[in-house]
Amino acid sequence: MLSSVNVSIESLNLMTLVPMLIPIIGALLILVIDLFKSEQDRSLYVMLSLLVLGVDFASLMDSAGVFSKNGTVTGVFDVMLIDGLAILSQFIIVGASMLFIPLALTHKRFHEFSYPEFFALFLFMIGGFQFMVATDNLILVFVGLETASLALYTLIAMHNRDKSFEAAVKYFTMGALAAGFFSFGSMIFYALTGSVEISQIATVLSANNYADIGFVLIGVVFLLASFGFKLSMVPFHTWTPDVYEGSSAALAGYMSIVPKIAAFVVAMRFFEFLIHSGVVWLEVILYMGVVVTMTMANIWALVQTDVKRMLAYSSISHAGFVMAAILIGTTQSNSALFLYWILFSFTNLGSFSMLWISRQKNLPVHQQSDHSYNKFAGMIKTAPVAATIMALFMLSLAGLPPFGLFWGKMYMISSAVTGGYTVLALIMALNSAIAGYYYLKLIVYMFMRDPIVEDGGHIYSANATLPLKTIIGIAAIGTIFAFLAINKLLEFVTAFVYNSGY
């Protein structure tokens, strides 16, 4: 006879679920509204989503307050784990989403935004990511990851162009493979330790002193492959440029930020203990992965002719750069990861938004692709403000002080220096120099070449509306005046990371 399970509601700590539930409820709400009255204007959904996200953000602030008072909170049979990493990454996820969603209010009408499902899926996706980061249970990670990914595949496909279907199919198929890797890897760890909770796995493994190192490594390989896919580490990156190219610029920008931070957090949770327990192999592999990813992505970015594709490679490179934080594995480096990613969100979202506002419905003859470099030739003459802002984002991405990303880069390299990874620090620095070339290339086109078509700069703001401009403005301000906020951010991030034990 089984004894009845007796669980008090308090011990479940259901409050931990609130931030994830908010977007899910929001999504359901949108679907319900559509049930009652369809064919509503997209602005309604945009604002609704924004509101939901705003509430979500507020609840996160609440969690943050609780965390700084009481430390890590667990809940729902210890499945939920609300620590500093979870809160920080959720801030980034929700914050970036809030910046993204107004981008739907474009001047030109795009197919996908007229569907309420788009927004519902979007919110589901956010919920998925939030689950993914707020747990150390591999099952929940898996579920969160897949929820988010499946929603994302659909979002990409909804752009309704040939290329976007192709992108969605590619992303989907590879994602399925990655899911297979993830479950296989989890299975091995489960077999080794009898648990799917990272902290448990760590305890058991160190208790038997990594007796089955060979199997541990095989498990790591599969998990690494699946994270590698999400984080677009070379050679698991191949989907990235195609998917970015196929999806709308706004979504591409979003994809370069949110899914990755979620994956980073999981990777950090999982690899941290392995690295600290002296699995040299992992260190070597990660080292190689980091170096190859940032270098090769940079090199491929050099030869691109389309700005969006270039930015795709550039974000691969940035991801590789940030992956170094996990390799280094100190509090400083982990804080650097978050700092970097916050700053990166502003800049990268800004630059993709710049592409987004210049997006035309139809491709002019002299352009091979939506955002080929040629399109931006002589932009300073016809649209000086836009050109300057775009240049700003490029310089920030290149890591030129005092723009946002410089501080992230600096702190990251510093963490490499402090962590004893001197050569890595140099490689990171030199990669920034290589990257300088392709960012500069765009600046060269904008500032130093003559316009190919004189149309008074209309093409650069074909899609511009007030909301879009606002978002770009926020991104630009965030990029320029980042230096004023660095100290606060750094203190905040470091405290959270440190108090979570990383």
Binding site: L138, I139, D162, E166, A176, G180, S183, M187, Y190
Partner: protein
Amino acid sequence: MEIGLNHYLVLSTILFAIGLVGVMRRKNLLMLFFATEILLNSVNISFAAISHYYGDLTGQMFAFFVIAIAASEVAVGLGLLIVWHKKHNNIDLDNMSTMRG
């Protein structure tokens, strides 16, 4: 011969390998999806076996989730496939490379 845990694991691994090979070799999108299903479900065998071995339910839970996710993947995947087929009248992977470089 007693069927032990290892046998299940080996079977699972073999199935996984078959799935992998299928993923690499198949040019037909539908077949490719099948391969990924094999991949995912092969793991379920192990999960169930290990779960039994430890007397712990977690593995079975995992397996259920995997099944659920596999199912939803198929839903999304087939959706994409149908749209693609509508547009291009084929589901051959080799026709799917407009973006490159």
